[in-house]
């Protein structure tokens, strides 16, 4: 039992890990074909994983409805929303446009899915403003540095900010876009690079741990 429950899964990680790793160094046709096949496989497995999620979602909301739990009425809208996309997609055979004509699916995308996701994304603008007011506190020299860099970028990106800069700091002889350019290309790059290098090493070491089966917490016990 241990063999099929633990050893084989670990062997799968090892074999696929090493083979995929090698494709980077082996340019041969076989290696390219192998990687292509693996990409396809990954696509297929992820697609099934999606249905795992879909089933969980449906299960959770249908139990809510059947038990008449708190706010079960809202759960009905989960199914309404799902059908509002799936039925048009079925009718239009997955096509958004039929020539220049919007299909039913195109319609569902443009008037249901898109406003929802775009609005949620746009809510961020409000939260940026409230963070600016509520959380952006200069409590230390470090926070002050963050504040100064943010100020330059915020003002430097819009014409009104440039006008304000010219009025107040024009005497320095520097244009704000020069300052912004310098921040973006020198110190900010250094900060970002440091983070990126650290992350890449961490990622490599973690990947090694997984391939060699040292990190196996994701398998669970027994």
């Amino acid at each position: 039992m241990k063999l099929i429950k633990k050893t084989i899964p670990l062997a799968i990680v090892f074999v696929f890990g090493i083979l995929t790793l090698l494709t980077y160094y082996v340019p041969h046709k076989h290696s390219v074909d192998f990687l292509e096949t693996m990409n396809k496989w990954e696509n297929i497995v992820t697609a099934f994983a999606f249905f795992l999620g879909l089933i969980s979602l449906f299960y959770a909301h249908s139990t809510k409805i059947s038990r008449k739990a708190d706010g079960w009425g809202y759960s009905l809208f989960v199914f309404v929303g799902f059908l509002a996309i799936i039925i048009p997609a079925y009718i239009s055979k997955g096509k958004n446009m039929n020539g220049a004509e919007l299909t039913w699916m195109g319609w569902a995308f443009q008037y249901i899915y898109n406003p929802l996701s775009a609005t949620m994304f746009a809510v961020l603008a409000f939260y940026i403003v409230s963070t600016a007011y509520k959380s952006f506190r200069i409590k230390s020299l470090q926070a002050f540095v963050l504040f100064v860099a943010a100020m330059f970028l915020i003002l430097g990106n819009v014409p009104l900010g440039q006008i304000i800069w010219d009025k107040m700091l024009g005497w320095t002889g520097y244009n704000i876009s020069q300052v912004v350019d310098w921040i973006m290309h020198v110190p900010a790059v250094a900060g970002k690079r440091g983070i990126m290098i650290g992350i890449s090493i961490g990622a490599v070491v973690t990947a090694l741990k997984i391939i060699f089966g040292i990190e196996r917490q994701y398998l669970g016990k027994d």
Binding site: L52, S56, G198, Y218
Partner: protein, 423 residues
């Protein structure tokens, strides 16, 4: 005979140069036009392009010092025994020298004194098998008029077995692997020193507060999939948090974006409750699947947070634009917020909106810090070693390159540049 013609070409090119300098190019051009065409362009070789999947051929021939700016070369290719020529490449005489082939010094001996042209045959002939023979010829043109042409050459392509140009990557990988195994096999029982990580000390405080207030804890593992390091680190921290939650007997909720991560998290939380001696408190609905759509996930989690007003929110893992959507709503409810992510574009938002933030690699180190597992801690050693390599490389590289540039050792600085370039 051939020599004679080459001489003639040389002479012609020279006269063209003179014409240019004299700012009266017209007569020279006329002369060229009136002369017999096609001298033979000698010394052209054609061979398989190394280190690739196949389907490309490399042509090389010496740069003709007497070429003028008006000289261009055209390379023809054909799959037929006779005729069937296709124009594969056309370029100025100053372009496409050995230096322009983008390969490092250990894999390619490029010099500016020869032309080197890579021809992607698949662009012209579609699918190509190893060993298919193709024919090539190179023509030199002066103001669009043919002045010399090579004899047809044969070459076939092969699929190669090693990217020699990626040798630096291999060496780096071996180095990291060796250090990694050394560190792991020398893992000390008593554990190693790990520096303080500010956000992690606050975890106890946050859980304690939740217990006092009798409110739940939200643990958001982000929108990464299970192969992402940040997600793996996040499930580790989740395990430690869940253990403490079980000990204090408070409630925790983990909303999920990725079904696979949810599966793993279930195991992790169950295990944590078991280890804390409270398997009876474990409930299946601690881990909930929400949505695999980024913003509907964010909208839903926002809704949940604002309704349940948790005492503490953890945002650990991979996040995109939804970072601030979550953190700001959490802040509105007055929860203690601890975040950690390796997506550098979102760090600024967590940093401003949360009480504590684990920056990039700190998130990876958190698992080792919390669990005090000797294996994990020694893996951190390997990471530190990697950073040491970078620091030394940068410092030495900067100094050596600067010295090389000052002394005008072109080849030397090129060598260093090649070492630190990914091909």
């Amino acid at each position: 005979m051939i020599k004679h013609k080459v001489f003639l070409t040389l002479f012609l090119s020279l006269s063209a140069v003179c014409g240019l300098f004299a700012a009266k190019p017209a007569p020279a051009a006329k002369k060229a036009a009136s002369l017999p065409p096609a001298a033979v362009l000698g010394g052209v070789t054609a061979a398989d392009m190394p280190y690739d999947v196949g389907g490309a051929v490399l042509l090389r021939w010496a740069v003709n010092p007497s070429d003028t700016p008006a000289t261009t070369y055209t390379v023809y290719a054909s799959s037929l025994q006779a005729g069937g020529w296709v124009e594969a490449e056309s370029f100025a005489s100053t372009a496409k020298t050995g230096k322009d082939i983008d390969l490092p010094f250990w894999a390619w001996d490029g010099s500016a004194s020869e032309h080197a042209v890579k021809i992607e045959l698949t662009n012209f002939f579609g699918e190509i098998k190893d060993g298919d023979v193709f024919h090539f010829k190179v023509a030199a043109l002066e103001n669009g008029k043919l002045v010399a042409e090579s004899l047809p050459l044969d070459a076939s392509t092969t699929s190669n077995w090693f990217r020699l140009d990626r040798l630096n990557n291999v060496v780096m990988l071996l180095l990291v692997t060796i250090v990694f195994f050394w560190a792991v096999s020398h893992a000390k029982r008593k554990g190693l020193f790990i520096r303080r990580i500010a956000g992690l000390d606050a975890i106890d405080e946050a859980i304690g507060r939740a217990t006092e207030m009798g409110k739940p804890i939200y643990y958001v593992p982000g929108i990464g999939d299970m192969t992402m390091v940040s997600t793996i680190a996040s499930t580790f921290i989740l395990g430690e948090v869940a253990k403490k939650v079980a000990q204090y007997d408070t409630t925790i909720k983990v909303p999920h974006y990725n079904p696979v991560v949810m599966t793993v998290s279930k195991e992790v939380v169950k295990q944590a409750f078991l280890e804390a001696g409270r398997p009876d408190s474990f409930r299946e609905d601690i881990n909930q699947f929400i949505s695999s759509d980024q913003f509907s996930y964010a909208a839903s989690v926002d809704g949940m947070i604002s309704r349940e007003k948790p005492a503490a929110c953890f945002f650990m893992g991979y996040f995109m634009a939804e970072s601030l959507l979550l953190a700001e709503v959490g802040a509105t409810t007055g929860a203690i917020q601890i975040a950690g992510t390796d997506s550098e574009s979102q760090l600024p938002f967590f940093f401003t909106a949360c009480d504590y933030t684990l920056i990039g690699e700190e998130l990876y180190a958190a698992g080792a810090y919390l669990s005090k597992d000797p294996m994990l801690q020694s893996a951190l050693k390997a990471q530190d070693f990697g950073k040491l390599v970078v620091m030394i490389s940068v410092a030495l590289g900067v100094i050596l390159t600067a010295v090389g540039a000052l002394m005008k050792w072109g080849a030397f600085t090129q060598t260093i540049a090649d070492l630190f370039k990914a091909y």
